[in-house]
Symmetry: C2
Subunit: 219 residues, 2 copies
DNA sequence: AATAATTGTTAGATTTGTCTAACTTTAAAC
DNA sequence: GTTTAAAGTTAGACAAATCTAACAATTATT
């Protein structure tokens, strides 16, 4: 089908589009750690395959075909992460690197089997939605914890920009998906939040952290 | 570490050496479906990395380093096959293609976890030995069923040249590892064998089949 | 032993994905 | 509204892994 390399470009385009809206050659270059001229020639190649809409000096956009392909790769990535956590006992902070490689495996049976064993999960271990078999993503509308106010109670639904570093930090604070969090107060000058969750503990979360936690309001 | 391509050459060299003793550029070329000049330049490159002993017009030999690297790749392949069969419910005829891809994943944790979940298996689903963590293989000395005689009773220990086609054939005859087989007679003119196993069944196995079944004599 | 067939090697072209250097266009700053 | 900075593009080089064509060495055949 597509090369390992092409798949990485598609995936990066997909993810960047969902984070920032418009995607530039420069963004792609930074995220992939590949120089701009290389990216430029590659997106032209992808445009030739009708995976990307490309016009000089204009933002990059995936075609419908490109979105579907990207969605299917991300599906493999997220199913793998879920499998690694649920069936192999890895921590949510350990699975990205491995899934990054396994997502390129070509074998419908393999991923279908994972899906089946996992009971057709809708989200991955970080709360991100798993695209369906057509590559379509069912976006869950969460809001950032940082956009919530004092007195509100929320449930932690997903984590974004989930680097190993950040996930280890969350582990150390016993912060996990599904956790009910009460916002006690918000410091207006630095945006830090005092919250409580779990065993009566009281914790302070910096804005850097609360911006990366996606929640739904409850009660 | 090494490229995907290099790993495939090492694995092929290792397997060929264990099947035929000496390995030629031509053998490698055929097994990898890569033209001889390409193979020639590649083995020189591997020689440059001290993985292969190379001299013009002489048979190819893996160095100790090469054997170790190859053993570790084969370890990953066979652990994966075992995992797919034991933990994911695949049939022994379905796992080769998938393992062929997963063997190139770089992640000690991933394979260690498989190993642990499987209880540190010594053989794969086809009876081939799984190299240890240093890449060393503990060869099991089986003999071919075709080398056994009438009246002998044997246990099926391994299958060689196990293509999907062949394994499906074995499935259809209910032939599986560990099965006790009694040799009733051997046709001298074509080498075919009349055997019995399982539920009193009587089967005839062609030489083509009995040459690919490795057994140990029992009682 | 001479000849034919097979195997191995060399040389040079091709593709993919990368780079650097130089130039152009668009956007930002003053 | 110039000028400067950032982003984008073009051109050309390069490494990895492949190929074909031509030639050389070894092995097999008669």
């Amino acid at each position: 089908m597509h090369s390992h390399t092409e798949e990485n470009y598609l995936k990066a385009l997909f993810n960047l589009a969902n984070e920032k809206g418009e995607v530039s050659v420069n963004d792609l270059s930074k995220i992939l750690a590949i120089k701009m001229p290389t990216v430029n020639s590659m997106v032209k190649k992808l445009a030739g395959k009708k995976l990307v809409h490309y016009e000089s000096y204009k933002p990059l956009r995936l075609t419908e075909k490109g979105k579907k392909e990207a969605g299917l790769i991300i599906r493999k990535h997220r199913l793998t992460e879920m499998f690694l956590v649920q069936k192999m006992g890895f921590g949510w902070e350990q699975v990205h690197e491995i899934a990054e490689q396994i997502e390129h495996i070509h074998s419908p049976y393999f991923f279908d089997k994972m899906d089946e064993m996992l009971g057709y999960p809708k989200i991955d271990p970080h709360g991100s939605p798993i695209p369906d078999k057509t590559g379509k993503v069912d976006w869950i509308r969460y809001e950032k914890l940082s956009d919530c106010g004092a007195g509100e109670t929320v449930r932690l639904g997903a984590v974004i920009h989930s680097t190993e570093e950040f996930l280890k930090f969350l582990n150390s604070r016993k912060l996990h998906l599904g956790l009910k969090i009460k916002i006690k107060s918000v410091e207006s000058f630095d945006g830090s939040m005092v919250v409580s969750y779990g065993k009566n503990s009281t914790e302070t979360l910096s804005l850097t952290v609360s911006e990366r936690l996606l929640v739904e309001k409850i009660g």
